[in-house]
């Protein structure tokens, strides 16, 4: 595939949503006259994603992440703007396009509920026209990596959430998609399962050169998997670039934390940096990057100093601050930050 895997230009999506007041009277009135309100889910979004990239879509609930993903996968029609995925217009749902992508939704299933997952795998083998040797090889790899040898033969309804999600992922990858859309793939999973799924997605991207586009409420998923993030808020592009670039822009201070028996007085701490927390024998400071060596040298002098850490502010905090700035900017035309 030549050129970017995904090109989005001026994408806008508006929904017409019925609305009514609460109560029986309003319910009867709605039978004869329905009121509609127009909701703009995405506003003139533009970005491009190169083949093989891992990109995370971040934003609060209702920001337009999933809507964007659904348009990219050809499920929704844009109201305005153009979209190209693998060189295709997704909404034509050309078979070549459908064979080149896969969409995994953590809260949706493609597996037949009352049949074993292996029946859906077999259906996918035929409808995606996968030749038998390739199918066997891919299924073998997926079964081994996802450890689903036993569970794929049980009716899907009897599987745990994690087992079902692994089978969903196997079904989505059997045809070897070059672009993988993942919408909240780890939702509801325990930490061990999240880690294993994350690792699997990373390996799939590295081994197959597949483009991965991910949305997740778990910032750890995005931080661990995606060198690039696209932040959407209220349908607007707020940032496009690396997590480091976002952190430098929003929270340029480095976070230094240390455990010590006897912490310096607060006046002295204030000279070192901005105090975030001093509870439970642990001191956490936000420090100007240029002063980090100086502050560290002071902290290592503290009695019984241990567990010294220098890090960026957690992504959650960076995002919270970005969104609160977006809210503050609301009403004024704001340009996306970052360097896409």
């Amino acid at each position: 595939m030549s050129g970017p895997a995904v090109v989005v230009e001026g994408l806008t999506k508006r929904f017409r949503v019925p609305r009514r007041e609460a109560g029986l009277k309003a319910a009867f009135a709605a039978l004869f006259r329905r009121d509609y309100t127009e909701v703009t889910a995405i506003r003139e979004l533009s970005f491009a994603i190169e083949a093989g990239e891992r990109v995370g879509f971040l934003g609060p609930n209702g920001a337009g992440k999933t809507t964007t993903l659904k348009i990219l996968a050809g499920l929704l029609y844009p109201t305005a703007g153009t979209v190209r995925v693998s060189g295709y217009v997704p909404q034509t749902r050309h078979h070549g396009f459908l064979r080149s992508i896969s969409l995994v939704m953590g809260q949706k299933r493609q597996l037949s509920w009352d049949l074993p997952a292996v029946d859906t795998f077999e259906l996918n083998r035929v409808v995606f026209e996968i030749d038998t040797p390739t199918y066997k090889r891919r299924l073998g790899e997926l079964v081994e990596r996802l450890e689903i040898g036993e569970v794929m033969r049980q009716p899907v309804r009897t599987l745990s959430l994690g087992e079902r999600m692994k089978c969903e992922l196997a079904a989505a990858l059997l045809h070897g998609p070059s672009i993988l859309f993942l919408d909240e793939p780890t939702i509801g999973m325990d930490v061990a399962m999240q880690l294993s799924l994350r690792e699997f997605i990373r390996t799939y991207n590295e081994n197959h050169g597949a483009t991965v586009i991910l949305t997740s409420h778990y910032m750890e998923d995005v931080a661990a998997l995606c060198p690039r993030i696209i932040v959407i808020d209220d349908g607007n592009l707020r940032f496009d670039g690396s997590i480091e670039a976002l952190t430098r822009r929003i929270r340029p201070l480095r976070r230094v934390s240390v455990r010590a028996v006897d912490l310096p007085p607060s006046e002295r701490l204030a000279q070192l940096g901005s105090v975030v927390d001093t509870g439970d024998g642990r001191l956490t400071l936000d420090v100007d990057p240029g002063r980090v060596p100086e502050v560290v040298s002071v902290l290592v002098q503290l009695p019984d100093c241990r567990d010294l850490e220098v890090s960026d502010a957690p992504l959650e905090e960076v995002m919270r601050e970005l969104f609160s700035r977006s809210r503050a900017d609301a009403g004024t035309a704001s340009q996306p930050e970052g360097a896409a």
Partner: protein
Amino acid sequence: MKPRKWLAIFRLGLAEAIAYRTALFVWILASCFPLVALALWAGMAAKSPVGDYTQADFVGYFVTAFLVRQLTSSWVVWDLDRQIRTGELSTLMLRPVHPLVHHLVANIAALPVRLLLALPLGLAVLLFVGAGTLDTSLVTLTMIVPALVGGWLIVFISQVIIGCLAFWVTSATGIYDFWLGFFVVLSGYVVPISLMPEGVVAVVDLLPFHASFGFIVELATGKLATGEAWRGLGVQWVWVGLHALMARLCWRRGLRVYGAVGA
């Protein structure tokens, strides 16, 4: 679409029909209404024929009606309504097979299981009340298969059209219940239409309800002259074409407003 794809969806549909065999059997029992109608009409015709129907004719008509209903049934309206409302349709839209083709094949796949479960019941009734008059003339044997296919297609496609309304309304199945009311009265499901007043028969005969059901039963029970049978088949397939055009329009327009709700 390649036959292998049809076969794969057929196998999955068959596997689901087998997995839901108890529910399917209960559904078959629930569609036994023609056998109830049989008891009523056969009782009324015990002493003298009702219109052009003798008691034996009623037995033949309603047992055939029961089996034709099994062979021309579809449930795509419920599937489409749910899939559109909940966003489950997205799964089918992501496969390189048209979602309606998927439904078509999956619905056909359940027919053998339905017939397997319904045939013993039909045969038992025939044995109990005495064999009715099933027509085995060459014309009927030639036409019965295209008539059954046409009847099934009208039922299936009309359900697709109504199911597609879920793109715009909250529940399409409520509209289908309304449609079903017309079907029950005008298709020949509870009363052979030739027993209706003459003026009504002329109109009902041209409607899709009768074309999808009563026409096939009348054909199979030898109630139609050769000319009437060909005319009936013609009317039926015109309805198939009109339904297909309407379904295409509803589907294409509907996809533009599809919300793919949920996750």
